[in-house]
Subunit: 745 residues, 2 copies
């Protein structure tokens, strides 16, 4: 970025022409309120490790992890901090991870987090860095991280100070840990996590760690909190239910609620660094990760490297000409797309395979945390455009999972299949990737895997109810499959993806078969309501039908996380067919307007997030897309902790914002086409990876002032572009998209 330094600022503030770098615009607090479920912790791009403040335990907090369904280690409006977690999920809807919790304290050892917790102030968060002052102890705590290791720096006052490692506490509801002091300055151990979305507790799995302290402690020990014995024997157990401090203990400690501490007697204020390597394979690998990534590097050295990595990552898009706040929203969103999927393999390539119990080894990157029901809609398309190498490794990771357990993933987390949500989204992601030109993976195997889940009638974990779906063309309310309307739509989507891939692979019969299947949603279209409606197995409609029921995640008969309105238009691959059913353009627009005008649009969930772009399908109504997207960005994507509409959904919401701010949106999954809207910035420079996109650089320019919200025209490489759609191929071949804007429609 150095080349831009010193050039005078003209007009708007600007990334390109300021000394501020993309990394400097990121506000990691965005999404930490309003259930965005992000956290402000320090981490490297797609890091296995993140060091996050943990402030969701204890009733002093507004949102408490045990008192409600809470899926994040940190909530911005909470006030009571009980430590720093080292593995975390970001932007998901279910609690898991949030473990390996460290906490600096002063005074006598106290192991109960409800007692040792502290209010705090002076929070700072930047990519790869977090800092906070713990009021109770006058300790400043800082955190940074490499990919597989966290580094913390605790600024202790003079006197007795401690670092606690609490393995009983966690966001996850799993319990079970092990630890051992290898020396007074090194602890090795593991923590069990799992039961994501309160599912599949039998798949609970270990996360291993090695933790090092820069200063030898004056004293160290472990603790163990037993459950209370209520039997006759309790009369002799003076220690019944009480935490035991095991001073100087160097044997292995295991149990549901255990911890460790190191204690110091400082004559003057002293800084201690805590380095934590993590692995999902073994303690040895956690140690190797720590040694090779951090070793003897200082906190500052680790942070500087991670900061640079972040900046390089974020600089793939350079924006200028716009509001400072929008730069922050844009780069924070881009930051949030670089958290999940995250790296699962250790630095030596090893990772736990899915389902086999074996340790696999990759020469590339094994990714994990595939929230595919969310991410198939726009996230992977964005990765394909901006980070094609990563997207290819994600596809390869998915195929490796197929090799391992015979199935593509659905909602994979750390090599467990959580079976969260519905549909068959992996097929969509893989087909989409291939069709956008990223073909360097075993497409025959991928196709075989997709077809398997689309056709295997028995013991098919990905497509429950498949027999009925194939026989009737829909899932009935009687078949026992949750959200039968939604799930039919999802299967249609996946079938469309398979059809599209079949076509390019020259499998004409398959193309026809799956394409036909992909339109079977029509069986659920009730002409009376002009909506998709739940149906019985015998073909009769489910009654009473209330298309409003199901909003705000309310449980209902036909739909998953939404109501009939929020699914009404979720037929991205056959908008024109749907339009016909709804009575043509006017009926379609009527429904679309009705949804927006009657509060039936939910920006916070995926089924309807493409709705604002559907106006582009009706000539003369495109301005409504521009208008609505602009309003949605302004209302829901802001530089505030509540600046995400809801769960970030592992970057899906952020990807929506990024695309929307760039003026393009991948409107049909598994169909490499974009639709367009008004860009937020006057200049957007996309550095394309020339291995995949030889043109190398794509510039999107717009003559926008703050008031120019509508598109007057679009020129691509000097040539007027007709219509509001643009193929991926055309986009990545282009050098310049030049929008001319206007203030009024």
């Amino acid at each position: 970025m150095k080349k831009y330094i010193g050039i005078l600022l003209v007009g708007f503030s600007s990334v390109l022409w300021s000394q501020k770098h993309p990394v400097d615009y990121v506000n990691p607090f965005i999404g930490t309120s309003n259930y965005g479920a992000t956290h402000p912790g320090a981490m490297a791009p797609r890091g296995m490790v993140s060091v996050s403040p943990f402030n969701v335990a204890g009733n002093l907090n507004l949102l408490e992890k045990d008192s409600q369904w809470l899926s994040n280690p940190y909530v911005h409006e909470n006030t009571f901090l009980t430590g720093f977690t080292h593995v975390n999920l970001s932007g998901v809807g279910c609690p898991d991870l949030g473990v390996i919790i460290t906490m600096p304290t002063t005074g006598p050892i106290e192991t109960n987090h409800l007692v040792y917790g502290s209010t705090y102030s002076g929070e700072q968060a930047k990519p790869g860095y977090y800092a906070v002052d713990l009021n109770k102890y006058s300790i400043k705590a800082e955190a940074t991280a490499s990919t597989r290791a966290g580094v913390s720096r605790y600024h202790f006052p003079a006197g007795t100070s401690n670092i606690l490692l609490n393995l009983g506490l966690g966001l996850t509801n799993e319990l079970g840990s092990m630890l051992r002091f290898v020396s007074s300055t090194e602890i090795e151990g593991m923590r069990t996590v799992g039961s994501f979305c309160y599912n599949s507790p039998e798949q609970a799995y270990p996360v291993y760690f090695v933790m090092r302290f820069s200063e030898p402690p004056h004293e160290f020990g472990a603790w163990k909190t037993p459950y209370t014995n209520n039997g006759v024997e309790s009369q002799w157990m003076g220690y019944n239910g009480n935490t035991r401090l095991m001073k100087g203990y160097t044997k292995t400690v295991v149990g549901d609620s255990i911890g460790a501490y190191v204690s110091y007697q400082f004559k003057k204020p002293t800084v201690v660094e805590v380095k934590v390597g993590v692995s999902y394979v073994s303690i040895e690998n956690a140690r190797e990760n720590l040694d090779r990534e951090v070793g003897s590097l200082s906190f500052d050295q680790v942070y500087n490297t991670t900061r640079k990595t972040w900046n390089d990552k974020l600089s793939v898009v350079e924006v200028s000409g716009g509001k400072e706040e929008d730069f922050t929203v844009f780069y924070s969103a881009l930051y949030h797309t670089q958290i999940h999927p995250n790296i699962l393999n250790d630095i030596n390539g090893e990772y736990p395979e899915i389902a086999t119990g074996k340790i696999g080894k990759t020469t590339g990157t094994r990714y994990t945390t595939f929230s595919l029901w969310d991410t198939y809609r726009n996230y992977h398309q964005l990765m394909t455009l901006l980070y094609p190498r990563e997207q290819l490794d994600m596809v390869r990771s998915m195929l490796a999972m197929y090799d391992e357990n015979g199935w593509l993933p659905k909602w994979e987390l750390n090599s467990t299949e959580t079976f969260t949500m519905v549909g068959d989204p992996a097929a969509v992601v893989i087909a989409d990737t291939y069709l956008r030109g990223l073909t360097d993976f075993d497409v025959q195997k991928a196709y075989e895997a997709m077809v398997k889940s689309a056709t295997q009638l028995e013991n098919n974990p990905l497509r429950p109810g498949l027999r009925e779906y194939l026989e009737k063309g829909y899932l009935s309310v009687d078949g026992g499959v949750a959200g039968p309307v939604s799930t039919t739509q999802e299967y249609n989507m996946a079938d469309y993806a398979i059809a599209q891939l079949a076509k390019v692979l020259g499998k004409k019969g398959d193309f026809k078969r799956f394409y036909t299947q992909s339109l079977s949603y029509k069986n659920l279209f009730d002409p009376k309501w002009k909506l998709l409606r739940p149906k019985h197995r015998d073909g009769s409609w489910f009654s009473p039908f209330d298309p409003y029921k199901g909003a705000n995640f309310e449980k209902n008969v036909g739909y998953i996380e939404g109501n009939a309105w929020q699914y009404a238009l979720m037929i991205p691959h056959d908008v024109n067919g749907l339009m016909q059913l709804m009575g043509g353009r006017s009926g379609f627009i009527k429904n679309l307007d009705y949804i927006f005008e009657n509060n039936q649009f939910d920006m916070a969930n995926e089924p309807d997030i493409a709705y604002p772009y559907l106006y582009n399908y009706v000539k003369g109504k495109e301005w409504k897309t521009q208008d609505r997207v602009d309003q949605l960005l302004a209302n829901y994507f802001t530089n505030k902790p509540a600046g995400l509409p809801g769960n970030d959904d592992t970057g899906t919401m952020s990807a929506w914002a990024i695309y929307s701010m760039m003026g393009i949106y991948p409107i049909i999954p598994a169909d490499p086409v974009y639709t367009i809207t008004t860009p937020t910035f006057s200049k957007i420079k996309i550095h394309l990876d020339t291995t995949f996109y030889p043109s190398g650089e794509l510039i999107i320019e717009a003559s926008n002032s703050a008031r120019d919200r509508f598109i007057q025209s679009l020129e691509i490489d000097g040539k007027l572009h007709k219509g509001y759609f643009l193929s991926h191929e055309a986009l990545v071949r282009s050098k310049l998209l030049k929008f001319t804007l206007k203030e009024q429609q």
Copy 2:
């Protein structure tokens, strides 16, 4: 023993002249009722491992582990078996160990021991062997063991059968385990044990294991039983509090309540062998122990070796001429002296050091389970006589503990100091051993260690209240030390031992000082009561004084596990001094008779176990010793599960019986002298270890018929012996002790 085969039986049944070997007389069920706290499990002499039936869980049992203070894995009158433990204590008074529990079952996997438990029949127990039929499953289960590994053999019927490994269940109240399937036929893991006597939970420690199955299972898995979540979140946890079966799980499992299973589909009845190696150091050592001791050996091969080892051990004494039942009582008692102290070191010499957390290495044997308050009185004297090499390694083990943590042991268990009971008994054992001629240890270090505990005024874990004891000559009821009278007596005993050792080491000043101290019990002698009585710090007597209070382990002010009567004569080193205080011979005998005649003698506890021998101190009254010992043997030491008076106290009760049946008793700890009584057998041949006792063989003969209960005369090597005392030196130099008996006194 082959040489005896074929010789005709004449007169009494006889070990020497029958085909029955000593090992064949042992009944391991002796002591499994009446709180004897022994178990009938299979084990090698002083083995780290014993495979015992576990029938103390579940209210179907008369004596249930959680419903009372119960210190043994097996109770003879119980009926509901829930598995087979692999590490156990024998004859102790507090619950611990009783873990690594296997259980063969049939049918679907059931992990709740209260459900999978079974009644049983057809029990057999012999040294190194146990067998039982599990009624519920029609499974015969057999067990044998080498020193550090257990081998079980389960005879399964055709159909679905399983072997469970329940790491949640145990006699110990500790929880916390780890396990991992290394392959379908090998599990490695650990179990936390500790809190012996409900003390020192912070010293809880791991026992590691490696378990192998001879047949590859059809299916395997782990389980985990979580505690019930009572919070708001429980509504989403369908698995809340329920055991999870984790089929095919090969990752590490940790938690408070976990287990594993292997499952078979047998077409015909099939035998599966389960081999379990154990270590207190590491999983690797557990595996090495298993590999080197058992490896590919069959159940029968392991059993045959262990049986031979037992027979060699027991054959150190050959008895003949007596009742068959008495042979059983004698050899079972000798068997029970060969259980604890037991071997702690792995086959490679490694063992956990005490307190340091380090792994030590021995070229000899590191013993553990030193219940010294019990064993200083007669047990170690017996080991010195019969197994001098072992006794020396026990002393060396005690000195190694001093090297490791700076203190001799008090009640050491698996390298933890449990601080159970009172006094300073290690000094007595070590002095006694040296004075009996076993001098091959670092006596200067031993002396230094003894003096340290006898003189260090602050932070002295062995002698609480030492300052008061030294200043006042007694521990007062105001000093906060439990049982101040008893503890004063114990400190006196230890001081006497130090004095005796000081004398032979030429430390005249020390001798005088400690000998003087050893008589300070006189400060507590109340001439009014003619008993030792609790005293205040200011010298006034504690009132009201009830010399009966404290019987049957009732808590009382002055005494530990006894009342004033049971401690009244516990001054073994100064019987004549005590006699004077009591008004000479008549007062002494009066008290002694009173105790026996008024039910104040407790055969089940150590303080008064030498009382029956005290008649030998009064000329003309020796027949009362012979009479009482004979009656006590008949009443309390029998070939029945209830055939021990109470806790065997790691062999102390058994040692009492052995000595008593041989007609000699080590009446003064740390004074190498025996007193004599009527031998039970007409011939007792003791094979002395010629390294220490060159005479090699000592024969005790007695002209006893069943009715000859009294001693007329004793000839030693043809010379009439005067009096009823005999030095250890004289005894071991002798070839023949020839008793002439008579029917009436």
